[in-house]
């Protein structure tokens, strides 16, 4: 009897390996029975997404009403392909991370939702997300088209995949083209161009800057600094190069070149640019639909991140996944929706909305995003590259804000606080 069972299991393994159609499925990927299929029938029944029916709740934040509109547009193509699945798109207003955690703790999670790279590892470790490997194997979904820099962020320590990158973004320089006629190419040029703009009438400050790693990391890298070593084992914020980079970034505030959005009375730097309070902001693709709808009269352009002391072009990239909740009761529908939205057609429709760049090789770069796309050739991950990054970010931002608001502009305490947070994160 037992031998028969073993035989059946082995057979099913082989069947999955053949039927799945992927080039080289590792044993890990086919391990364990799928949520809705017993080992014996996995291969024979196959995966017919059009046969799956039922509802699926989709949630994410909206950086602007335009983002919600873009996603709604992208979803229009879904019912034609999968008429039996009813998608209920429920964007979440407010503090997304906190709202989602309350949903997770109550057991009533959306079926498919955004997970920011920033806290993806945390949520994977806490068991909030469902692994997708069985579904990938069953459906034969080709994950090879995703840029690995994005996709790898959503793989757990166990080697399993917990989400597909829904898109990507890089940080570049958005400048008011009426005020800045030739965008600076290096950090030195940026400083001299901005210094010339100090006190110009109508401008509250030349540049809107973020007082944290959210955007500051791009400057830290550009000026030769770093947070952790390449192998991720040791902190590097306390090296001389990093210290100098933090000091350089602080000096932008000290010299009146840069101000935070909060001190400008704006919600974020895109708004400050739109209101004409600043001439330059460092943001990503989400600026475009926002400016088009809220500040259509402001003329602005994109330029690559200026090169710093490191000499080569540097920027950071962001990504967000679509993941399935561990407690989702509609996992099958959610996965079908996931393959649509993270698939070629869905992503092409979504990125046409102008919020983000594709995270797949086979989706063309939308018009107007050339500069941002160029940055993705050399971008380093802007979050999700180390455990406990949320705490590191908080430590940096708190200490950095204290230096700006206390008008002391000393990199020392910022470095010390960040170092302590990194050491703590790495030791866990």
């Amino acid at each position: 009897m037992r031998r028969l069972l073993v035989l059946a299991a082995a057979a099913s393994l082989v069947a999955v390996a053949c039927g799945g159609g992927t080039a080289s499925p590792s044993p890990a990927e086919t391990e364990g029975p799928g949520p809705s299929a017993s080992p014996g029938e996995t291969a024979s029944t196959g995966w017919d997404p059009t046969a799956i029916s039922g509802p699926a709740i989709l949630s994410g934040w909206r950086s602007s009403p335009e983002e919600g509109e873009a996603l709604t547009q992208a979803l229009l193509g879904f019912p034609a392909q999968y008429p039996n699945i009813q998608v209920d798109y429920r964007p979440i207003a407010g503090d997304y991370r906190t709202v989602m955690i309350t949903k997770i703790s109550s057991g009533e999670v959306p079926d498919l939702f955004y997970v920011n790279a920033e806290y993806a590892q945390e949520w994977i470790d806490q068991g909030f997300l469902a692994p997708l490997d069985d579904y990938i194997a069953k459906s034969g979904f080709d994950t090879g088209q995703f840029f690995d820099g994005y996709a790898s962020i959503f793989r757990g320590k166990d080697g399993k995949t917990y989400g597909f990158p829904k898109d990507g973004n890089t940080i570049a320089m958005a400048y008011n083209s009426t005020i800045v006629t030739s965008p600076p190419k290096t950090m030195d040029e940026l400083v001299s161009a901005a210094t010339a703009l100090v006190g110009q009438s109508g401008l509250a400050a030349p540049i809107c800057l973020n007082p944290g790693l959210d955007r500051g990391l791009a400057f830290l890298y550009a000026q030769g600094g770093s947070l952790v070593s390449d192998d991720g084992a040791t902190e590097q914020i306390s090296t001389d190069a990093s210290r100098a980079a933090v000091q350089w970034y602080l000096d932008l505030f000290k010299n009146g070149i840069g101000k935070t959005a909060a001190d400008l009375g704006s919600g974020w730097c895109g708004e400050a640019l739109g209101k004409g309070q600043v001439a330059i902001a460092f943001e990503g693709g989400w600026v475009d639909p926002y400016m088009a709808s809220t500040f259509p009269d402001i003329k602005y352009g994109w330029a690559e991140m200026p090169t710093g002391s490191s000499g080569s072009p540097v920027t950071i990239s962001y990504t967000v996944s679509y993941s399935i909740g561990a407690d989702s009761v509609n996992k099958d529908q959610a996965f079908v929706l996931l393959t649509y939205l993270a698939g070629k057609d869905g992503m092409e429709k979504w990125t046409a909305g102008g919020v983000a760049l594709p995270s797949r090789r086979d989706v063309p770069i939308p018009a107007g995003k050339e500069v941002l796309a160029k940055g993705s050739d050399y971008a380093r991950p802007g979050s999700g590259f180390m455990p406990g990054y949320v705490d590191v970010q908080k430590a940096f931002q708190d200490a950095f804000t204290a230096q700006i608001q206390g008008k002391t502009y000393d990199a020392g305490p910022v470095v010390d606080a960040t170092r302590a947070a990194i050491d703590k994160a790495l030791s866990q």
Partner: protein
């Protein structure tokens, strides 16, 4: 056959019993709710606080008192206590003084006292969420406060204290908590006024007549007659105020988010509890924070008892 007297006695006993049954029936629902949701909660919280307790999957590891150790070693928690205590020490006396002053004023025989009373209480009617958002707007860099002081030519005066013309009052680590103190003094002083008004009106006319005969001035009367007689009133207002102050949450959470930004300036004890539960995903740790909060509030109540003497006999 029982004697008539015995029958009367037993009917009294029956009556007593039916009275007790009626009483238990009348109080049953609230008492069950209190016993489960209030008293029972304390013991359950104590139990939870001994565990590492995942928000989704429940208890993970038994940790004993480790959560309490972590708590006391966390500088952000100490900052939260510091903020809550500072808030309490400044806000409570400030609001009590304003409330008492307003109460004394509207207790006079002045024209329009009903209007004044209604006006002074007015800011208390709005929800904390609405009023905090309104306040964030008013003290924002381009907000009403900054534009009005600019228009009045007061900026040089503010400059003396190092406050620039477009200061973001609630977004600056040095002024954020004070901004919330002023906000809440503004909204709550009307409520305290009403508390004090009730106390003032319970003071008989005779004492004032006696004071008047002794030739006391208005201030002397207030200082030596009214104020001492208001002692139970102070006790009540102070108790309510301190408990409320140590539980500061709404305004801090709305203005500073779950992290109490900027730089933990708005991190209060209750916000820390909320943060521990829904940002660190650890209900065990959060329950320990709740117990610590209880200890602090209980301690504060004891201190007050010392300050104001015995509690009134309620």
């Amino acid at each position: 056959m029982a004697a008539p007297t015995a029958r009367a006695r037993s009917s009294i006993r029956l009556e007593r019993r039916s009275e007790a049954i009626a009483a238990y029936a009348l109080i049953a629902v609230p008492m069950i709710l209190f016993l489960v949701l209030n008293i029972g909660s304390i013991f359950y919280a104590l139990f939870i606080s001994l565990w590492k307790w995942n928000v989704r999957s429940g208890p993970v590891d038994f940790k004993g008192l480790e959560n309490y150790g972590t708590l006391l070693g966390d500088p952000i928690f100490l900052r939260a206590i510091q903020n809550s205590v500072y808030y309490t020490l400044v806000w409570v006396p400030l609001t009590m003084v304003i409330g008492l002053s307003l109460a004394v004023i509207v207790n006079q025989k002045i024209r329009g006292r009903t209007f004044f009373r209604a006006a002074f209480y007015f800011p208390a009617i709005a929800s904390s969420a609405a009023i905090t958002i309104l306040w964030i707007f008013i003290v924002s860099p381009d907000g009403l406060f900054n534009t009005v002081r600019g228009a009045m030519g007061l900026n040089p005066l503010f400059e003396l204290f190092g406050f620039g013309p477009n200061k973001n009052w609630i977004g600056d680590q040095d002024t954020a908590l004070n901004s919330v103190i002023i906000l809440n003094a503004w909204t709550t002083s009307g409520t305290f006024m009403l508390f004090y008004l009730a106390s003032l009106q319970s003071i008989g006319n005779q004492v004032y007549e006696a004071a008047a005969i002794d030739g006391a001035t208005a201030w002397q009367t207030f200082r030596h007659v009214t104020l001492p007689l208001l002692r139970p009133g102070h006790y009540f207002v102070a108790t309510v105020a301190v408990i409320g102050a140590l539980q500061l949450f709404d305004q801090a959470a709305i203005a500073g988010g779950i992290a109490g930004d900027p730089n933990n300036a708005l991190m209060t004890m209750v916000l820390y509890l909320y943060n521990a539960a829904f940002s660190r995903f650890d209900f065990g740790y959060a329950a320990a924070v709740g117990i610590a909060l209880f200890v602090v509030i209980f301690g504060a109540t004891l201190v007050q008892r010392r300050l104001f003497g015995q509690a009134p006999s309620w």
